[in-house]
Symmetry: D2
Subunit: 348 residues, 4 copies
Amino acid sequence: MAELEIGIIGATGFSGVELYRLLCSHPEKPAVTLFSSSRDGQDITEEYPHLKGISTNSTLKKLSLEHIKRMDVVFSCAPSGVSRELLPPLLEAGIRVIDLAGDYRLKDSALYEKWYKKPAPPERWLHEAVYGLSEYNRESIKQAQLIANPGCYPTAVQLALLPLLKNNLIDPLSLITDAKSGLSGAGASLSKSSHYANANESLSIYKMNAHQHIPEMEQSFAQIGKSEVIMTFSTHLVPMTRGILATMYADLLPGVTTEIIYETLQQHYENEHFIRVHQENTPLSTNQVSGSNYCDISYSLDERTGRLTVYSVIDNLLKGAAGQALHNMNIMMGFNETSGLPLIPQFP
Amino acid sequence: MAELEIGIIGATGFSGVELYRLLCSHPEKPAVTLFSSSRDGQDITEEYPHLKGISTNSTLKKLSLEHIKRMDVVFSCAPSGVSRELLPPLLEAGIRVIDLAGDYRLKDSALYEKWYKKPAPPERWLHEAVYGLSEYNRESIKQAQLIANPGCYPTAVQLALLPLLKNNLIDPLSLITDAKSGLSGAGASLSKSSHYANANESLSIYKMNAHQHIPEMEQSFAQIGKSEVIMTFSTHLVPMTRGILATMYADLLPGVTTEIIYETLQQHYENEHFIRVHQENTPLSTNQVSGSNYCDISYSLDERTGRLTVYSVIDNLLKGAAGQALHNMNIMMGFNETSGLPLIPQFP
Amino acid sequence: MAELEIGIIGATGFSGVELYRLLCSHPEKPAVTLFSSSRDGQDITEEYPHLKGISTNSTLKKLSLEHIKRMDVVFSCAPSGVSRELLPPLLEAGIRVIDLAGDYRLKDSALYEKWYKKPAPPERWLHEAVYGLSEYNRESIKQAQLIANPGCYPTAVQLALLPLLKNNLIDPLSLITDAKSGLSGAGASLSKSSHYANANESLSIYKMNAHQHIPEMEQSFAQIGKSEVIMTFSTHLVPMTRGILATMYADLLPGVTTEIIYETLQQHYENEHFIRVHQENTPLSTNQVSGSNYCDISYSLDERTGRLTVYSVIDNLLKGAAGQALHNMNIMMGFNETSGLPLIPQFP
Amino acid sequence: MAELEIGIIGATGFSGVELYRLLCSHPEKPAVTLFSSSRDGQDITEEYPHLKGISTNSTLKKLSLEHIKRMDVVFSCAPSGVSRELLPPLLEAGIRVIDLAGDYRLKDSALYEKWYKKPAPPERWLHEAVYGLSEYNRESIKQAQLIANPGCYPTAVQLALLPLLKNNLIDPLSLITDAKSGLSGAGASLSKSSHYANANESLSIYKMNAHQHIPEMEQSFAQIGKSEVIMTFSTHLVPMTRGILATMYADLLPGVTTEIIYETLQQHYENEHFIRVHQENTPLSTNQVSGSNYCDISYSLDERTGRLTVYSVIDNLLKGAAGQALHNMNIMMGFNETSGLPLIPQFP
């Protein structure tokens, strides 16, 4: 049997490196090729010394259609705005692509241009792209040629809210999400906000009501959750490397009890490997999922106001990026869904 | 002129140590006596070596009424539930006390017992106590014998919301606060959640809808803000030592514009030393107030929903505890309000 | 074939939890029983919520000889001073034990009592114990009934120095080691020094010239390195959870060149899975081995003084504790040496 | 009386900002002008929002000789290699300058060029410059036109070693220093090593035997310590913002006892405001000096080898940079030496 060939475009970002780590331990033992237009010829261990000795194939290759055509699956970790131009030639050549950027997530190109402030990708591929929220789109993911892997925040938010929206338990117009992320979510590029002395010992609020993940979530609430949602959304930068905690607030609909909430979440996810539903009022910490592909969910009912607080935690580089992307590849290729995904969080 | 004599009860907690630091640099050069029932006879530098050589008066004294009567002002940093019994004898002896615990903040003893799950302090002193939100209660603070210094979260929340509530700009029943604090807010005592390996590299949510600061804020919204509020309130532990960031969500009332919000905040605080109002959509970080007595405030209007996001940052040990307490002492004693308070944040 | 049965004593410490994580992913799929005398009946997920849903066998069991006799291998993660009394009955019952504490590392009971300030374990088992420095004692480890797993600091130090001592490249009497460790090395128990507010944003020096790991290293230098060493040794606590960096200084012996140093290290470890030798003057960081069983080694020659600086990094909970213990189990049981050991560091 | 006019060149670096903070609270109430060639016209609060509202004079000015001539003292926080060209015109115009870069520290221009790998500054000013180690060069500092403020590492190292070298207690040829610094020492400019995800949760060793601070310390050991020293020196980056801990190793000279060490250090510094000598074997932490101008010193005798371990901690931005510079200004101008210097560390 021919060996499985996998390519990673934009391999020198954090998601790319994390994918490489996962793929190197994948039981299907794929041959992995690392592509990087800007650094071809370099060895990835120059920038990432932790990878020294891991593989004999650690030289970064220039992206060429000829070369990449040999791949069975390609993960694109190029930034939003780049995969728009980069991917269509690959897709036209018939390559199956899992894109970790935001470019192919929104079906409505006007919405993309409004929130991303960049020209949208070609309509054809916007249309073809399957939104890779693994637990909700398995059947389409199996058949997909192009998967738009969900954003980190949207993963944490949707996994907690979709069961409640689908079952009409909360008022879709009351939704407010207060999301918090570790620094790795901002990527490997240098910026003032990722300078250690700025980020360390400081919590920041940023992109209030303006984050490009807002339309992605609202689209999904409509398509998967069958609910028209306009959500208030704030994001915060937390002095830690990995982890997202999303705290969501919504009005309960009449007649909904805390037991109904619990049963709904529980039943919705009881056969899912990567979702752990906790009982009401369970405090959650990002370190209880760190290094794993888990999303942990709990909630609290404020009896005085009838408002529900739902909250979830993920590792942004795993469930929020590379882990979910690999999960999607497993689904696409018919592998065991948990193959190559670390099941147990690393603590401490 | 007789020297100013100041006592600190519970001097070995973080607020106590911070107060001591501030008082040692106070231009009135007070004589400071450190009281600690459990460690009398010890020198505070055994536990806090950073204080070595600061003062010749660093021995912890047993709390005796005789001794403490000599003090002009006493700060009590004993924990909630302790000052309830500890303070009445001092107060009856005529001593002026600034209490940093929660015991005397709530006027309604039933409310105290419900949220603190402890017996309430004597009604007389609940009634006498002045809530020490410096910017709002100056006149009463001047005359007060007992000041109930506000909680750390309530300080950040009230300073941002009170101008909006007082001016009827936001719907009081729509209020949701998502608050985040560094670890020093949990105090110096040992607990699993303050163990480095648990707290580091992890963000946690805790006490959802059950934090004892909820009734304190609602009481203040009613008394100072003239608004009946029932607020949903969540708290989070952030892997950093100092800092609180509070993110608040509320529906704007009809006709209120972003300009009105800005002008209201700006005018409300234009003569205040310790409040800095920023323009709409300014990202804020806790490190921009760290080491100072500032509260920085900004806001963002979500035009799609008509909801307002207001957010504020403080140093929880200064503006949220020792700094505000000293501010209150300055007001009480007729000193310059900024005396002994570090005006400039320490960054990086 | 009967299933492999493995017990972990003291399962609620950091090494115990890390071993459990590794064993749950071990390809031999062992049945793991968690023992804890103080918390029997509890579920380990109460204290360690990251383990929720990992296994159906997560209840902590009381330590009974009857029960533990069924185990093929037992890891003891009880603290130093406890395994001294705990292990002999198990050993007499014929159980194979890998002890992660310091009790059985020193052959000389007087030395143990001097440095540990506790009564030494029975001579018989001190004598029987095999020092589990995997790369150096493979043959004895295969046959051993009792393995004394090396300390965290000694692992980092010995792996870097033994090749140089064995080959007479450095002056054994000139050795000075300046070692630095993350907080997890101090364990899960609560103490002032592991309180977040004390440990965070602070580097400390502790146990100068008095660390109990000193005789362990010197014994090994004599036995394995054939060198009588008296080493000056300092330890530092670094504000991070995982990682050890050891910086070692020694005078080069006459005629030794930097090329000889490199070739010696390189050849010594070229067939070792878990040791990566870097070229001279390569900067090393603990994060390049974090989450893996690697020890990375480099060095720098100070031409002005003829002194050699050798330095190594490990993950203290893996190569410095649970990882090395599992490596030893793999050797003992004839498994592939890398089985169940994460090969790729987790970065970022 | 004319107001004191002070200029800060390179005001947007960390030392510049720290100096500005100190000067704004200085009792002499100087008028401070901030110079920045690259950002003139900008307000410093754009980059450093913590400074909002502190001063009406926060606009960055272009560096012009005309303007700067009005200053009584100028602090230069331009990087090494820049002040070489920048300062001579100012000096020739008669301005008193305190330079925080390395350019004027070495008397021997060949040594400068060897270690800094840049052309040396003019001999005249190398010769004129006074090395600003405040405790040792007071008399020259008073008269100096140009002060070369010591490097951060050299400050911590020299304060601990000079008394021992001057009194012939340790063997100068046996000296090894293992130094560790927080990230702020690397400055505000963006680099891979200061990216949060690289620096956080990781300890690194860098510039082994090649740090440009080596000749600075050796020059001082010769001039002030009357000892010809060739020192082995390693530096480490610690995941914290502020703080240096230097661990030094030396052979005791014959007849020297631990009591002699203690008395020497104690007597040497008993009249110094900013040096705290601790008893033998006292563990030290960087947080016990953080936010202050203190240098804390302790030591440990290894009786088995006759080696002395001396260690010291400073805040690298205060005693290691801006604090010492201000101390020097106070000496120069005849002010109280502690004026404007925070005496009490900020903890936690």
